[in-house]
Each structure stands twice: as C-alpha cells, then as structure tokens.
C-alpha cells in the first residue's frame, strides 16, 4: 500500500500559490521526471530547489520544490512538495502530470492515514482519521460514478468492451490453442482494430478535456456593434492597454485575446471586431472571425451603447447569441440615455467603463453563472476528473506501446500485456477492476469444452 500518492494540499484557486504534495517510495523520482532544474534525486533532505514543471519540454509553471526524505516527514515516507502559482488550470495540469508519471491520487485523509500507520500521529487522533476515511470514502464512491459525463463514460464502456473482446480471444487462444473454431488472433489481424481503438481513445480524451472548463478555462467573447466599448472592457478586465481604444468605428479588425483569472479559473477574453454590415474586405474577415468566436466561446458578453438607439444590427446580433450562455451589458451610462431596450433582451448590467463603474458586478455575475465559488472550495469534482484524464492518457500510452510491439513482431501474449494494462486503466475510471471479469468474459463469449 506504499505506492506514491499525491494531492493538492491548499484550497483551490484562492491563494497566490498552491502546494501539491507527493508522498511515497517513488515521490522524488516521479517529481524529478517532470522537473527541469537540479536533479532532485541528488538533493539533500529538506532542501528547496527552483525550477520548472515541464510536459515534454513545454513549461507548465515556474515552481519551488521541497525535497524531504524519510523518515523525518509528515508521513514518514519520502515527501516532495511543489509550490505552483495557484490557479486551478496550472495546478491541475501539474497534478495530472504527476498522475501520468506513476503517482496515484490520494484518497481523502490518506496523508494523515499514512502518518498514523507509520507511527507519526498518536493514538488519540486515530478515531478522527477513521471518521474522515469513512465519511469521505462515501463521497468518493459517489464521485467515481459521477466524475465524467454520461456520454464520456458510455464511450469508455463501449471502448473497453471492444478491447476485452480482443483480449479474451487471445486468452482463449492461449488456454485452448487447438480450437480451430475460435479465430487464432495474430498481430496483423489485430493491428487495424488497435489502430481504430487508438483513434477512438484520442477522441474520448479530447471530449473529456473539452467537457472541463477547469483545465481549459472559460472562453468569453465580447460582442457588439463597433465602438460600443468592447476593447475598453477587455482592457479594464486585463488592466492593460492591449486593445487599441479609439472613437473611430472599426478600430479592432482582428481578434484580440487576453487572459485573466476569476476565483482561480482562467478566463480567455476575446475582443471581437465590431459586427456590422460592411463591404470593407479587411473588416469583413474580422466579422466572420467574430461569428466563429461566438460559436467557440463558453460565454458571450453582449454589449450595447446607452448613448445610441437600438439598431437592426443589434437585434440580428442578439439573435445570433440568444441561445448561448450570455450576459447583456449596457455601457456608457455616464452619457445621455438614448437606448430603449427591446422586451426580449433582459437583465442587463449597466456600466461605465470609462468611470470604472459596474465592472465588479459583471465579474460577480460570471462567478455565479459558472458556480466558480463552489468550484474553488469543493475540489473533489475536478480532482477526480484530472484523475480520469490521467488514466485515459495512461491507457493511450499502453496502446501506443502495443502498436510498437506489433510493429516489432513481438509474440501476441506480450502485445496482450499492454492491451490488458490499457483495459485496466480504463476500468479504473469507471470503477471496474480486473480479476474475475476477464475469466467470465472468456466463458461467456467462447464455446470451449472437453
């Protein structure tokens, strides 16, 4: 049971930094695999190293890493703590990398449990830990079922089913080698199947990642007719002059992006070109791009000008976005009110960006809309999906190994080891484990006998 466990030890997304703790025999090795800086395996105990967490050479975050060797640690095992720059996306990515490199997501209370089992915490605390384990395993059990959307878990079940057919067939070929009725699978026969399988797995990983605002962040598009103040809002949110703000219509002809974080969740804000009917070719490209951005975004901020009458384009624009998640804002309330809001456009937030009025109200609305507060305190939901994605990627790794083995002409039972590992990793996601399942499969699918 002394495998290496990891978890984010600080509350999510609130603080300026977050700490990810890793404990177990391979803690130092695992972190070392994703750390660019000094060789952690050669560091003395209780030292801190500066460096970067990298994913195949891509820098994820600038971090400080504490190396603490057994036994003088909280769990009495080797412990590594990674200090990251807060924010759910980054922290989550680091966690995912740890899981991918051999650590297991800690159960609730597991660090304390190890501390206790290894004799670090005294007996009086034991009951408390018992209760904690008991209470949280229940939550964890429910979570493991709900962690992925029904669609994704159905895809996993189907995919696993395809794989187990191949595995069971190979097993039967091994245990009953002379049954000519049962197809003798060979590397070349399964190759196409495995390749298709790999493609489907990649697709699932994509869907699982898409389904998660937390890894990718929330994409917000700001739209409105030219010169309503879109770029000003972006600059205000970003606190920098990224978009050129002028009074001339159509200044923003391309898409301008900026990133910020609300409650630890990254928001990518896109300032679109003002949408209006235009014959200007350059601007037309901008408008088309804006329409595409609307399609891609998770949230649309629809902006009107208090100082102008509603135009036909405003209504057309609204019809484009009314079925999407959106917030209506009316800018320039410091100027004379000329705008009469049509009935179908409801619950506007009024602001004056110039006077920095109402922007906080907008942020609050975004937080409420995406339940961001809840997200930042109940970390389990997203932790378990990080786990799922790590397992999906692990499963994909095994499949890639299997394909390599096939290409190298390895014996089929060696190829099968990778297939089985892949199948088991998928099973872990939906809470199915090995043992009897495969043997049941064998007998239900194939006709064997003496």
């Amino acid at each position: 049971m002394n495998d290496t466990i990891t978890a984010i030890s600080t509350a999510q997304g609130v603080g300026a930094i977050a700490i990810i703790r890793v404990s177990g025999d391979s803690a130092i090795d695992i972190v070392n695999k994703i750390f660019k800086g000094k060789d952690l395996t050669k560091q003395k105990t209780h030292t801190i190293c500066y460096g970067h967490i990298v994913d195949k050479n891509k820098v994820i975050d600038e971090v400080l890493v504490s190396v603490m060797r057994a036994p003088k640690t909280f769990t009495k095992e080797d412990v590594v703590e990674i200090n990251t720059h807060g924010g759910i996306a980054t922290t989550n990515k680091v966690l995912e990398l740890l899981l991918l490199n051999g650590a297991r997501l800690a159960d609730a209370g597991e660090f304390s449990k190890r501390a206790f089992l290894n004799g670090r915490i005294d007996l009086i605390e034991a009951d408390g830990i018992m209760n904690l384990i008991e209470a949280k395993t229940q939550v964890a059990r429910e979570l493991s079922i709900n962690q992925l959307s029904g669609k994704v878990s159905n895809l996993i079940i189907n995919l696993r089913d395809k794989l187990v057919q191949i595995i069971a067939n190979i097993e039967v070929n091994i245990d009953y080698p002379e049954y000519e009725d049962i197809e003798q699978l060979t590397n070349s026969k399964i190759k196409n199947n495995i390749e298709t399988y790999k493609k489907q797995l990649i697709q699932i990983i994509k869907e699982a990642e898409d389904g998660k605002i937390i890894t990718e962040g929330i994409k917000v598009a700001i739209i409105g007719r030219p010169n309503v103040g879109k770029s000003s809002l972006l600059n205000n949110l970003l606190d920098e002059d990224k978009a050129i703000v002028t009074d001339i219509e159509g200044t923003t002809r391309d898409i301008i992006e900026g990133n910020l974080s609300i409650s630890g969740v990254p928001l990518t804000i896109i300032d679109t070109a003002g949408i209006r009917k235009t014959d200007n070719v350059v601007e037309k490209i901008g408008v088309d791009k804006s329409k595409k951005q609307i399609e891609k975004s998770d949230l649309v901020i629809y902006m009107l000008n208090n100082n102008e009458k509603i135009a036909k384009e405003d209504i057309e624009l609204y019809n484009l976005i009314k079925n999407k998640k959106h917030i209506v804002v009316i800018n320039k309330i410091d100027l004379e009110k000329k705008l009469i809001l049509p009935k179908e456009i409801k619950n506007p937030i009024t602001l004056s960006i110039l006077n920095n009025m109402g922007v906080d109200k907008l942020k609050e609305k975004i937080i409420n809309m995406f339940n961001l507060e809840k997200l930042s305190t109940s970390d389990l939901t997203y932790l378990s999906s990080a786990r799922s994605i790590a397992l999906l990627k692990k499963s994909l790794n095994y499949i890639e190994n299997a394909i390599e083995n096939i290409n190298n002409n390895s014996p089929i039972d060696i190829v099968e080891i990778e297939l089985k590992n892949s199948w088991e990793a998928l099973g872990e996601i939906i809470g199915q484990t090995y043992s009897e399942e495969l043997i049941d499969e064998l007998f239900s699918r194939f006709c064997l006998g003496k």
Binding site: M1, M130, Y179, S410, D413, C447, L448
Partner: protein, 610 residues
C-alpha cells in the same frame, strides 16, 4: 492396531503425490484406497498437461513430485502448445497411456520405502479435541495416525447420472464413500456439491479415420522432467484426430434435450458443473448460432481399443448417445464401449482450509484435489504434493511451504482456492496468473527446485546440477554483454554487444552460439528469454514486489472483525469466513474493497500497535 505418521485417504493423482512425498521424507505412511488396481488411473481425458497445466507438471517435478517423470515414461504423444507465441505461455501436453501410466505409478508406490497400501473405504475420522488421530473404515477398523490427508476425489457420496437415472457410485463402478462427507459436516465443514462429466468411449476399429483430420505430435522431443531424457520415439507417436459435429447431431440433441440429466431428465440436480467443460448439450443451448463444434478423437492406450471423444461429454440416456455418436463423420458404425456420464459429488468449501492445505477446523487434517473443489489431474497432483510436503513439515515442527503467486502456478491455484473459494470445479488457466511472465515452462526449476531441496525431496546431486545451471546462466549473460557482433544496418556495418543485439526482434542466441560448446541448450535458451524479455520481466517483478509488501503485513490470528467498525457488511462476512493471514491476502478477497482494507489497517495499528 497399526500406527502411522501419515494416512492418505484416496489413491488418485493427489493421493499418490501425498503418499510418495511423506514416505520419501521418512514418515511411515499408509495409503488407503477403494481398489488398489485403480490407483493413479485417469478416469477422464487421456492426457497430462495442457495450457498452464503443463507448467504445473513442470513445477511438480521441480519440487520433487512424481507426475512429470511418470508421464514421461508412459506417454504416447507429446506436443509443446503455444510454441508460436511468447515463452510465458508455452506449455507441454502429453497423451498418456491409460494402462501404463497407472501401472508405472503403482510400481513406484510398491517400491517405495515407508509406504503401505491398503484396500478399504474410509467412512469416518478419529477426532479428539479438534485434532485428527486416525481413520475408521467401513468395516469399523480404526487406524491411528498423527496426520490424515483426504484426497477423496469424486468419491464422496457420488452419483452417476445418465439420462434419467441416478446411481450412487464412484467412477469405474467403484464404491463411493457414503458417510464421510456427512461426518465432515458434523465436524463443522460446509459442504459443496459439484458436478463434472465425461464423454463416451468408442471402439477404435469401428471408426473410419479417413474422414478426420490427423493431429500429430511434435517432431522435437520434450520431457516434463528436468532430470531424464525423452525415451519415446518422436517418429512413432500415436496421432489424435479432429472431427466436427454435424447438423444431424444438433437436431438429435435439441430434440431430446428434456431427456438429458442436466436438462430436466433428473429434477434434483444441485451440483454445479464447470463452465470450461460444458456438456455438448450445454454448448448447443448456449451457442445456438454455431453450426458445428470441434471434437478430438484421442487414443486412450496402446493396449486397448478405446477412443475418447474430447468435447462430447453428455448426460443423455444411452439410446440417444447411440444416435448422437453415429451422426458424427466417420463414426456412422461406431461401437460405444463405455457411455458418457455425469458425476455429482461432495467437496468442502476451500475457504475452510489454510494455504498449507491443513484444514482450519480440524488440526492435522489436510485435504487435496477434487475435495477442495478443483478439477484436473495436474491440479490434484500439485495439491497432493504440497499437502504431503506440509504434513511432513508439520511433523518436523517446521513452517509450511506456501508458494506465492509470483513463484508458481501452484501458488496461484492454492491462493485462489483458500482466498476466493470456488463455486464450480476450479481449472487452472493462464489468465488466472497475473505474473505469468515469471511462471514459465522453462524456468520451473530455477523458481522451485531450491524449495524441493530444502524440504528434502530433491537430492544433493540434482541440486548441484541446478547450482551449476544458475552459474552458467550468469556467466553467459556477462559474456554476451562484452562480446561484440557485427551487423549490417541501413547498408552500414556496425558492431554492438550480443546482449544488445538480442533485444532486437527476431534474433536468436542459439543461432549465434551454434559453434559454442560451453553451454547447454537449456542455458542458452534461458539466457535468450531473460535478455529478450528483460523489460517486461522487470516490470512484472516490480508489480509482484508491491504484492509481496502487502503479504508481509500480518493480520493477528485473534482479530475480531466484529469489533472493526465501519467496514462494509459483505467485507466483514468475507473476512470472517476466509480469515486472511496477511493484508495482501485480504485485498484479494472478492467483496473486500480497498476502503475496507484502509479501515482494517487503521484498526490494526490502533489495537495491535503494528
């Protein structure tokens, strides 16, 4: 009254291994059996070994058991199964001669010092204070002993089922034991009723083999034994034949389904049959869309004419069996010498025994073979050997020999039985062994011979041979790490070590060392496998290490699971039933979840300070 150290009840494949082991280890042993001439007979298929089972036979031989060498002496055909696949799944299967196999075994038993053989039915045990003290026969004769090993096979209250008839009888019309299983129940054992079946036997000269496909033995010679050379003539092996059922066969079976003992012919069937060897009627019902099923015609002996139809076991009445057999290609005029039957018998729930095969309920009482819920000659022999070894170790006040899941198929077999139990007759499958890459045919001696030597069943001479082999392997590995070989790659000549070269696909060390006379073929083969699959072997070894860590965490004998609050009810019941010795074993019990283990570990630390 005679007094023995060990009494073995039953002369099947388990019983003979038990008796030989204890007698060879110097304990005065009595083997009691219903009919001496039937000792070590093969009442079902005429083969020894098979996928994974062949590896079990190798393991038996490595530990100092008899099955391998006895099969080598009497086989009439030999095949290496899965030879086109990887080294981990290769396994030997011999067609053994049903006359000479038991004869040879009986000869070995008769020549064995310290071993008496007696013909009698055992109907009760002498038990004092939960300790066995001997046995009582049907003639009420009492024989005392320190240890009793029960290897009763299918003879506990066995019923032969053919069509609608149920007859209380053992195989070969032998007497069954009528009361022993009831007595075991009285002593506190939970009894399980199991069922198995066997196909009809046909007169060889009544079969037209021209309609069948010939299945020959391998053209390379093999032995199960690590110590003797093959004595059979590879060019003179007896072939098997392959045929298929016809639509006519299916029609006959489906039209008469209600007459089959298993499908309503007999109403009170409670025995659970194995899924892996269903009767032909089972196969037709379960796999409706298959229009033919494969059957093998296997010779039973050189000394009589019976042909065994593998794949055709049935519990149909005799007249239907006649029709069924005659509908098979080449068997239109077949003469049935013995009809197929199903047999129902009592066994004990194997979770009631320890991994040493001593029962948890009665001290000094060991059980092995079908009484523990298994099926198969090899599975039985393996348990018989382990029960014999552990009986001897117990008599010598030594710790029992318990093979681990990463050491032997025998370890997997016994651990599965005592940890998971079984609901159907248990057959070994390669898929049951999670570390099968370590449990190979080729390394059985490297894995287990040392244990055999320590126990005392492997002679000094054989042990020295093993030491030499181990040294040679080490030496050769070192040699090929430094020795270079030049190859042409991408039209360029390069040189690399043989060790590295061996890791590239389709290379053979045997080929490279053709001229080398310093190493035996066995050693070269071993090195090739170890080097070629090094990456995978290491990976599996790491997984095994994880398992072993949990195996070293002991659970105290006196633990009261009712006091461990918060574990799930099902887990609690299972833990009470199985009484796992270690955390590792507890983890393998189905119905016990990791969270239950967490709670258990916290409890253990709290109350046992460990």
């Amino acid at each position: 009254m005679n007094k023995y150290e060990v009494i073995v009840v039953g002369g099947g494949h388990a019983g003979v291994e038990s008796a030989l082991a204890t007698a060879r280890l110097g304990h005065k042993t009595l083997l009691i059996t219903g009919r001496i001439e039937n000792i070590a007979t093969m009442p079902c298929n005429p083969s020894i070994g098979g996928s994974s089972k062949g590896i079990i036979v190798r393991e038996i031989d490595a530990l100092g058991g008899e099955m391998g060498i006895n099969a080598d002496k009497t086989l009439i055909q030999m095949k290496m199964l899965n030879s086109s696949k990887g080294p981990a799944v290769r396994s030997l299967r011999a067609q053994a001669d049903k006359i000479t196999y038991p004869k040879e075994m009986q000869k070995t038993l008769k020549n064995q010092e310290n071993l008496d053989i007696k013909e009698a039915m055992v109907e009760d045990l002498i038990i004092e204070n939960k300790k066995v003290k001997g046995i009582i026969t049907d003639k009420l004769e009492k024989i005392e002993s320190k240890i009793v090993i029960l290897t009763t096979g299918t003879y506990l209250k066995s019923d032969i089922l053919i069509g609608s008839s149920r007859t209380r009888s053992g195989p070969h019309d032998e007497k069954p034991s009528l009361h022993l299983s009831d007595k075991l129940k009285e002593y506190g054992f939970k009894i399980l009723r199991l069922k198995t079946g066997t196909p009809p036997r046909i007169a060889k000269d009544s079969i037209d083999f021209s309609k069948a496909k010939v299945e020959e033995g391998d053209k390379k010679s093999y032995t199960f034994s690590h110590d003797i050379k093959a004595i059979y003539d590879i060019n003179n092996q007896v072939p098997c034949h392959l045929i298929y059922t016809t639509l006519k066969t299916h029609e006959i079976i489906l039209n008469n389904l209600n007459k089959s003992a298993m499908y309503g012919g007999i109403e009170d069937i409670i025995g659970i049959g194995p899924r892996y060897c269903p009767s032909i009627e089972d196969k037709l019902v379960k796999f409706k869309d298959k229009d033919r099923h494969q059957l093998f015609l296997e010779p039973e002996s050189l000394y009589y004419d019976d042909i065994y139809i593998q794949g055709f076991s049935t519990s149909m009445p005799k007249d239907i069996q006649e029709q069924m057999v005659k509908s098979l290609p080449g068997l239109e005029n077949a003469k049935i010498l013995r009809y197929a039957y199903a047999i129902e018998y009592d066994a004990i729930y194997p979770t009631q025994i320890n991994a040493s095969l001593e029962t948890k309920i009665i001290e000094n009482l060991f059980t092995a073979g079908q009484i523990n819920g298994t099926s198969g000659y090899e599975e039985a022999a393996a348990q018989g050997l382990i029960a014999g070894i552990n009986a001897s170790l117990k008599l010598r006040n030594k710790e029992p020999l318990i093979l681990k899941r990463n050491e032997a198929y025998i370890g997997v077999l016994i651990d599965d039985l005592v940890t998971k139990g079984t609901k159907e007759p248990y057959r070994m499958l390669t898929s049951r062994a999670e570390y099968r890459l370590l449990l190979r045919h080729d390394n059985a001696d490297l894995r287990l011979r040392e244990y055999g030597y320590k126990v005392g069943l492997i002679s000094e001479e054989k042990y020295q041979k093993l030491i030499q082999k181990k040294e040679d392997i080490k030496k050769l590995i070192n040699e090929i790490k430094t020795k270079k070989i030049s190859i042409t790659k991408d039209n360029k000549k390069t040189s690399l070590s043989i060790y590295e070269y061996l890791k590239t696909p389709s290379t053979s060390l045997l080929e490279i060392l053709k001229e080398d006379k310093n190493y035996s073929q066995e050693v070269i083969e071993q090195v090739e496998i170890q080097v070629k699959y090094e990456g995978y072997i290491k990976k599996v070894e790491r997984e095994a290490e994880k398992m072993l860590k949990n195996e070293s965490k002991q659970i105290p004998k006196d633990i009261d699971y009712n006091k461990v609050t918060n574990i799930a009810t099902e887990a609690r019941q299972k833990l009470i039933e199985v009484k796992p010795k270690t955390i590792g074993q507890a983890l393998r019990i189905s119905g016990v979840n990791p969270s239950d283990i967490s709670i258990l570990m916290v409890y253990l630390r709290k109350y046992y300070n460990e």
